[in-house]
Symmetry: C2
DNA sequence: CAGGGGAATTCAAACGTTTCAATAGACCAT
DNA sequence: ATGGTCTATTGAAACGTTTGAATTCCCCTG
């Protein structure tokens, strides 16, 4: 091995500049190119060299400059999370985001949060990210049956994972909760409790999970041969006062519902409030089964029956999948359907 | 003005590469340097030229490459939000983040979320961001009286805004909620309702807002000459079962509290549950005043009295301040103390 | 008409990587 | 010695900006 001419005459520089490849190169006597290759474990570099370089880099505290790498390779080391900021989610955002960052920590990827409100052109958002190279991958929620974002991303071959399935035939990576099973289970639980007139408020029609909920609800209710209604005129995203009014309205009839299935936590609270406000007693005159994502329901009295959707695990799964997609793995087998689980009653009283 | 030699002989290229400064330069006949300066409205460039260039850039859909700019200038156009992922905040994260992104949208800055859990060395996190140039500014929450992150950032002159004040004498930018006033108001409201034995659960001692709450609570309670206790052995961050147990325990005495001040939403629910579970009726045997950040309390029955902390506005304010800090404004006058407001009862029943 | 001054523009270097193509040895077989 | 093959390393260009210094051009003054 050719030892380089002695360039390192100055022993220590006081202000301790941030080390670059050049610093490491000078310290080890190799060229910048070799150091770069050594650090990426390029097999063309002698093993011994790789070790030397790795040690020097460690010792000097070398960390590659993201901007430079990004400029050179075109890869941003960034993942964008499209986040709806208009609606109320209680624990949703927090848990979901926690799961994502948990997985991404230490991978060198960072998450940027991009507000994604129905108001503007959500497609432009995605286009902007792709075109201007703002991220290597995208995560989004509130997936629609024929989600235009998914379509665009698929056409471009851009890595993404959706929270929720689509109806496209081309496969893509997704993570979803089995809302059909949830609805079915909820119906069964209410039926078991002797409830005969079930009520459900659905999300907006364009979301794919709306279809799953509807199907699960309708088929289970029909199978059980009981009365059932899907509350008209409001959706999960309606302002809570409207939802409350719709619920109270539906209770004014001669035979009001005696079993409620709530897909969101807020809706569950609204439902409970509507019951109380119309003179009914939850647990006596009607039962409520709710999907819950946060532990708050442990502390609601009277207790509500809940089915747990683990959003932190969802975030984790989506981040892991996105990593695999960005590493080039085909989307064919990248999906997870979370089954409704029991809440982790770690003693919630 | 010297018209350049005709370089643009090829009229249209099919694959439509992403335009760079060079593209715009070629299209206008100016040099890359001029185009760059023109786009940044450099007064040295003739006004007419600036206009021409701006138009061409617009027409071609030119957007500066962030990586290149970042490499050259050292500025990242990124803001890091240090987010605690361990604790439960209900609407906190969502509202806060929404406020931040709302302000940052269109400024060219993006937000990255960095998990900041007490477990690891939170200082290293900050050091890492500064050293490796991962952001131009930092936002963080859960500020401590002598917050080491704040100290480090101040020493380095790195732009940041904290959610919460510190006890340092050197000024820095912060946004805070007047928790002292909140505690005081809460005491007064309970006293007005005839409550004589007040109870409060505080956050961990090291947080600066804990001191404000304590002071407000103690001084108001003493002024009113009524009994008061700060629940021992648990904090706001304790697991909810522990909080619940502590509350039930405190109700076992001969004269249990009849007025509760809850600093968090979860705690408020736990308190309500503890009351019910020990046979007391909220609103009759005891009253609860809670700080609320999300609208869910509109839908809790019986209704709780709440004081609203607008976290979306807090996020907005912090983002705005950070922009000003990053633009070089000194921190002297950059602080906002949000006064406890009335909840925006837009009709919640 | 030399040359000073100012306005407008351009040149070229630099930021820190990655990577293609080239080079330098070493070893082996002719 | 000559050439070939293989391994280990290096030189240099490129990614798209920004910016200090240089250049060009024109007008004006003496």
């Amino acid at each position: 091995m050719t030892r380089p001419p002695e360039t390192q005459t100055l022993p220590i520089e006081a202000p301790t500049e941030r080390p670059t490849l050049r610093t490491v190169a000078q310290a080890t006597g190799f060229s910048v190119a070799t150091v770069s290759r050594a650090l990426s474990d390029d097999p063309r570099i002698a093993l011994k060299t790789r070790k030397t370089v790795a040690e020097a880099a460690e010792r000097l505290g070398y960390v590659p400059d993201r901007a430079a790498r990004r400029l050179r390779t075109g890869r941003t080391q960034v993942v964008s999370l499209l986040l709806n900021t208009e609606h109320e989610f209680l624990g949703f955002t927090h848990e979901f985001l926690s799961g994502i960052t948990e997985v991404l920590r230490g991978t060198g990827y960072s998450v940027t949060v991009v507000p994604d409100d129905i108001g503007e052109d959500r497609l432009d958002l995605v286009r902007n990210i792709m075109r201007n190279n703002l991220a290597d991958g995208i995560l989004f929620t509130r997936t629609e049956c024929f989600d235009p974002r998914a379509r665009l991303l698929m056409e471009s071959g851009f890595p993404f994972v959706s929270h929720g399935r689509t109806d496209f035939t081309t496969p893509h990576a997704w993570v979803d909760f089995d809302n059909e099973a949830f609805a079915r289970q909820a119906v069964e639980r209410l039926v078991t409790k002797g409830r005969r007139r079930l009520s459900l408020i659905l999300p907006e029609d364009r979301f794919s999970f709306t279809q799953h909920l509807r199907y699960g609800f309708l088929s289970a209710a029909r199978a059980a041969g009981i009365e059932h209604e899907i509350v008209a005129g409001v959706t999960l995203d309606s302002p809570t006062p409207e939802i409350a009014e719709a619920l109270r309205e539906s209770r004014r009839g001669p035979t009001p519902p005696d079993g409620y299935i709530c897909v969101g936590e807020v809706t569950a609270l609204v439902t409970m409030a509507a019951l109380v406000d119309t003179g009914a007693t939850p647990g006596i005159d009607a039962d409520v089964v709710a999907k819950r994502a946060s532990p708050i329901f442990d502390n609601i009295r009277p207790r509500i029956e809940t089915v747990f959707e683990d959003l932190r695990a969802t975030g984790r799964a989506m981040a892991e999948m996105l990593l695999r997609r960005m590493a080039g793995e085909p989307p064919e087998d990248l999906h997870i359907l979370f089954k409704p689980g029991q809440p982790d009653w770690n003693g919630g009283a």
